[in-house]
Symmetry: none
Subunit: 208 residues, 4 copies
DNA sequence: GATGAATGAGGCTTCATTCAT
DNA sequence: GATGAATGAAGCCTCATTCAT
């Protein structure tokens, strides 16, 4: 879980919360579009209509912006996931709910998800971003557990390679952030439905 | 299709082809591991046991290495894809063959695929990398066409949103590059089989 | 001959030893003249006839230059001091030798001494420069011990406040770095003699 | 003599004199502890419990604070020195009085003295701080004159190198600002006595 | 084929300062 | 008297690239 209270940081980093949020949204957009490394602080500032140095009144560093974006996203994601996991649903319903919440999160935090997809892997090596790794482990446990429960309950096919399936499902969901556009043709729920239909029933037509 | 022959390069950049290949493989590895932007020429040189400047005897620029890696990968990929697409197979068999070839390509050119995944989107905007966009369009045509043929032939479900399905399938295949390790537990063919089984039949268990 | 032992250091920082020495001497001069903080990397580079960035081929950072200057100076100083302290001299002779060696060191490493004087106090708080504090403690022990030995041996006046005297003596010696010019009217040995005469005999004229 | 009245300052910079004094004392403390260059306006403001920008209501600039601190200190110092020099004392008594007043000044204005010690040399080059150089010249004249008078009057040893002695004495007195702590074991007068005893009589024990 | 040294552009960050409120 | 937000210059450092040897 990310940072909490911060007592004696150089820059108290408070400022009006709305302005911060605004700036973070802008930063997230640029990060998502160009990649974190390729994004210069000046590009963010340009997009915000200020000078590069002025960003440092609000944030400690370029990295701290990234940090705030990612941890904010994960915090919210886990609030939803935990609600689902604690609801006592069956494995199939859990899977459906997780997938649906995931697409909703993509809808809400598209940029953060896109950044997470592109950067989390190599960020995970930095101690400051250890929470990304932790989150990913919780993630794996939640999804793997659901699949295993489903196999045990004879809701999912017994011949599944659960780990492989987990990876397929996980990646396909999140990678949707690379093409999804909020307000487009499909609502997140619609995409979730289509996706679940494919994963659960397959795309082949069965003459039954 | 990408660059052809080095016609007007300042530095004739000949050097033994094997050494080039070696160095490209090293570069691809570092690019894949750290991202293109975050990879410094010095890191590549370090990994190759030489000094940064020395790389410029073999290559014109850092970008030209990336270019060579990506175009080499795409050239090979399309040779395989074209063979499949020209073989006169039915839609389901075509899908199976494309998926299988894709996983094989991941097995052979893991680093290139990983780089392609991470960088192709923003590289596509640069004129020099227009071939990435072209390739992606050919790609879409091949997969979409196969899916549509399958729906028409009543091999795939009639209620599929073909574009959505295309994206799901495409992403799931390629994103495997982020976790696949050559020489690991599963052969590419095995992964392809599992994956196709999921996509074609679904993961739900049906009491028939 | 490039990198040798250092396995994964970013910059192996070897380069021709003479060039390093040259550049360090230039840096020391500028640091001494303007103060470490007020010295910009560009000023050093200007003085060396190169661009600011080029310094980073030879050194890791501005601070590492300072570090190398100071530790080089202290290493040499302690070699001389240790020789004196291990020579088995009486307290007065020890004092004379320490003072003389100190002025010689000022003559040899004027800039380093000047920097040490101005910066060591606030640098000491940084963990990286802990050796400055250690050195200063060894220093104190050597001088204090000599004074105490002298009082016990009735070579120095019994009413001395030894700590106060230590500070006076120490400061007077080192502060000379702020006005001493090598090659000027007085040789280091001459200055040492005058200084010792004052400290040992006083400046008052006694009718004996 | 330093600046006089604020004639042409943009900001009339009046504010309650006590508040100014308070803020100047805080600034002096930080300047002394960290060095002028290394002291940011924000550090001063932090120490004063306000924001950096707010200081500009009271002062024109960071430099003007330094200026006021140093000129205030020198004004007071010279008031005392002039009193001593005009009192018609003999050379030895003059020396004793100057030393004593100096240590008293260190006691009263420790921070200003410390700043003066560290910064006056390189500040002297700036036209705005020319008064530092003037002061130093007056200083030299006063001390050198006293020593020379003493030699002529056979109060000090005839073999003294007067300039060297001047430097030794001057430096040792002022450098005490680097270790002196007001309210510590020794009063300024006590330190002066010890110091004068050492300088006048020497530390060697004479069997007479 | 490779090294060593340098260039020059550009990146992140700091900081004195300003100014409307 | 003070705050909050911003400016703009400057600082340290990185890095792709060049080139004489």
């Amino acid at each position: 879980m990310p940072k909490s209270s911060d007592s004696d940081h150089k820059k108290t980093t408070v400022s009006a919360p709305e302005r911060r949020e605004e700036l973070l949204a802008i930063a997230a957009q640029v990060f998502a579009a160009q990649g974190y490394n390729a994004t210069t602080v000046r590009k963010i500032a340009d997009a915000a209509g200020m000078l590069a140095g002025s960003l440092y009144y609000h944030f400690d560093s370029k990295e701290s912006m990234l940090d705030e974006i990612l941890s904010g996203f994960l915090d919210e994601l886990w609030a939803r996931y935990d609600a689902v996991l604690g609801a006592g649903l069956g494995p199939r319903e859990t899977l459906e709910a997780l997938v649906t919440e995931s697409f909703r999160e993509i809808d809400r935090h598209l940029d953060a998800v896109a950044i997470y997809q592109k950067e989390s892997k190599h960020l995970g090596t930095q101690p400051h971003f250890a929470y990304l790794v932790e989150s990913q482990q919780k993630f794996e446990k939640a999804w793997l557990g659901t699949l295993e429960r489903g196999v045990a309950a004879k809701v999912f096919r017994p011949d599944l390679d659960v780990r492989l399936t987990y990876r397929f499902v996980r990646d396909t969901v999140w990678v949707a952030a690379s093409w999804y556009r909020p307000g487009g043709r499909h609502s997140p729920e619609e995409i979730a439905r289509q996706y679940l239909s494919m994963v659960l029933e397959g795309i082949a037509l069965h003459d039954s």
